[in-house]
């Protein structure tokens, strides 16, 4: 806030100087702190009002700056009397110290004012002063703004009249706190100031004023409007309707029916799994694809899908998000190949298991899709509506969550992946695909769940290094290449363990020491005479590990870790 003053006060300051020059030069030019003189406050108030008027000539922005400075200066004087220092008063004090022209009012103007104020005790004075300060500041903006071009004298008179009005208004209000005790006066002052707090904030401190929030609302509304306009399907229920079970407005029975099989499937997945982003994104992918299917499919296929989905429910509990993501990604890339070769796609779909039906649906659905987003949204909108009618409560509970979370996540991530590669698949391919993959996919389901727990932790650990590999490579890589990296890592681990065993045995130990590992690295050529182990540790490992590995002296002549 203090920053604003120097910038904004350039012109207000000059104006103020002009005003002051025209006014009574007897006025003191230095801020008087902690003076019980009501005259000072009155001076300030009138000065503030005058400054307000003088500055309204300029643009409103400058006006606001000037008002801020004036009000700040006025507040300083008022707050100088205050026993309690509120943050606002302190800040205003700070504000005032920046501009040199803080207070300057001709005493002549003050005369009518001081009388009522001197009566009040200091606290009440402060409250009243704040009141009065606020009131005239409030009024001048509204009344003075419309083109006050009168010279200083006229402005003074005008200000005086306005000020008097303000004083009159302030006086009756101030009567109440006067009657009360000091404690109550505090509260009343609080109440009084509270009422006007909003406006003065914006008026006196434009920097703090919240710029009209209407812009944001318009943006969202415009966004929704755009969605509505572009979407050919019914309005976007998911985005607008926060109800989990919104009834679908579209009476497309097929779509509703289609969404059913996928809903339970995805619902079951989410209900069982931790519902990570992966599962969600995979879920909605399946959701959205399935509803788009119906346009082409007949009811007979719907039955197959239903049965299939039920099978999914029973067996796909083990289908984890991880698999969901990668096969999905696979499916995305493979969708392109699918256009060319059905057999390849079928086999791939088999391999991916649960994701198969969704993938089969993807190309078909996407041909239908005019705009990916809208179709997905509508599908999701129908999804909850469809599922609510037929599915279990758990599924329903899961699916709305899916649906609610999916629009953003799905649109954000899977959009480009799913929709862009898919658009142009052939219709013939689409029609023939669904039957085969549906039938083929069932057997692999139970099989995939078996070896998973065994391999998963190992692969999960390796995947950490695989990610690091792709990070170090800084280049795009094929998936097969990543599998190769996994194999290489496996081999490397084996070699590593063998070498460590040999080194430990050579030293006559049965426990592998860090020295053994260092020796191994030296033999690998990583640690040389030029590059020591500590250097490598500092370079590659995070700080916490470095502390554990490198002995460091600490207070008390102790070294950690102990050597």
């Amino acid at each position: 806030m203090a920053d604003h003053n120097p910038d904004s006060d350039s012109t207000p300051r000059t104006l103020l100087r002009r005003v002051l020059d025209t006014a009574d030069p007897r006025t003191p030019r230095r801020p008087r702190s902690a003076r019980a003189g009501a005259q000072r406050r009155a001076l300030l108030e009138t000065a503030s009002s005058r400054r307000l008027s003088s500055q309204t000539k300029m643009t409103t922005r400058r006006y606001s700056h000037g008002v801020r400075s004036i009000s700040g200066s006025a507040y300083v004087q008022a707050s100088g009397h205050l026993e309690e220092q509120t943050p606002r008063t302190l800040l205003k004090n700070i504000l005032l110290t920046a501009p040199e022209s803080s207070i300057l009012m001709p005493k002549s103007v003050v005369k009518p004012v001081p009388a009522p104020q001197e009566v009040q005790p200091s606290r009440r004075e402060s409250s009243v002063g704040s009141l009065e300060l606020q009131l005239p500041e409030l009024e001048p903006p509204t009344t003075l703004a419309p083109g006050l071009l009168a010279p200083g004298r006229r402005k003074q008179r005008l200000r005086l009249s306005m000020f008097q009005q303000g004083v009159d208004q302030g006086l009756p209000l101030s009567q109440e706190p006067q009657r009360n005790d000091d404690a109550s006066s505090l509260t009343s002052s609080l109440n009084l100031t509270f009422a006007t707090s909003l406006q003065p904030q914006s008026v006196q401190r434009p920097g703090l004023a919240r710029r009209p929030p209407a812009r944001r609302a318009v943006d969202v509304g415009a966004f929704l409007q755009d969605l509505r306009d572009t979407s050919l399907a019914p309005p976007n229920i998911v985005l607008e309707d926060t109800q989990p079970f919104s009834q679908p407005t579209v009476g497309c029975s097929r779509r509703v029916y289609r969404s059913l099989p996928c809903m339970p499937h995805t619902g079951a997945k989410d209900a069982e799994l931790a519902a990570g982003c992966k599962t969600r994104s995979s879920g909605p992918g399946m959701q959205t694809n399935s509803p788009e299917k119906p346009a082409q499919f007949l009811a007979g296929e719907a039955e197959e899908v239903d049965a299939f989905a039920l099978d999914f429910l029973s067996t796909s509990s083990g289908v984890s998000g991880e698999d969901g993501v990668e096969p999905l990604q696979d499916g995305v890339e493979e969708a392109e190949k699918r256009m060319e070769e059905e057999g390849v796609s079928v086999s791939e779909m088999e391999a991916t298991g649960a994701q198969g039906p969704s993938r089969a649906e993807e190309p078909e659905g996407h041909t239908q899709v005019i705009e990916a987003e809208e179709s997905q949204e509508t599908a999701e909108a129908k999804g909850p509506g469809a599922s609510s009618g037929d599915e279990d409560a758990s599924d329903r509970a899961a699916s709305p969550e899916l649906v609610s979370s999916t629009p953003e996540s799905l649109q954000a991530r899977r959009h480009h992946q799913f929709l862009e590669p898919d658009p142009p698949p052939g219709a013939a391919v689409l029609s023939s695909e669904p039957a085969e993959p549906l039938l083929v996919r069932r057997p692999p389901k139970p099989g995939t769940t078996g070896p998973r727990p065994q391999q998963d932790p190992h692969k999960a650990g390796l995947s950490h290094y695989v990610k690091l590999f792709s990070f170090y490579a800084k280049m795009p890589m094929e998936r097969k290449a990543l599998e190769m990296v996994e194999k290489c890592l496996d081999k490397y681990f084996q070699h590593l363990c063998d070498d460590l065993e040999v080194f430990a045995a050579h030293a006559g130990r049965k426990t592998v020491n860090p020295e053994d590992v260092e020796l191994l690295m030296r033999r690998q050529g990583l640690v040389t005479d030029q590059v020591s182990l500590h250097v490598l540790v500092e370079r590659y490992l995070p700080l916490e590990y470095r502390q554990l590995l490198i002995p460091c002296a600490s207070s008390g002549n102790s070294v950690f870790p102990a050597q």
């Binding site: 650990g461 290094y465 690091l468 170090y472 990296v485 490397y492 460590l500 065993e501 690998q524 182990l533």
Partner: protein, 88 residues
């Protein structure tokens, strides 16, 4: 622990060492041996360096073939060289 650091790439690389995983792998390989406390951190460091070298080598291979994407062949060739180097 420094769990993850946002890097220039989209991914968030975890800087944490999978200590449990490393211990488990070592135990599975050599059940009769024991690994010391900070030993697995150094093992992790050596793995990092191995992966780093492998990535550099495969990147070099890919660039030599003027490919924009790293293929299996690049990695295979790189692995041969690097594994031989890391034999100790």
């Amino acid at each position: 622990m420094a769990l993850s650091t946002t890097v220039s790439q989209r991914k968030q690389i975890k800087r944490k060492a999978p200590r449990g995983f490393l211990k488990r792998v070592f135990k599975r390989q050599k059940p009769h041996l024991r690994l010391e406390k900070s030993g697995d951190l150094l093992v992790h460091l050596s793995c990092l360096l191995f992966v780093h070298r492998l990535a550099e080598e495969s990147r070099t291979n890919a660039c030599e073939n003027k490919c924009r994407i790293i293929n299996r062949e690049h990695i295979l060739a790189a692995a041969k060289v690097i594994l031989k180097k890391s034999r100790g």
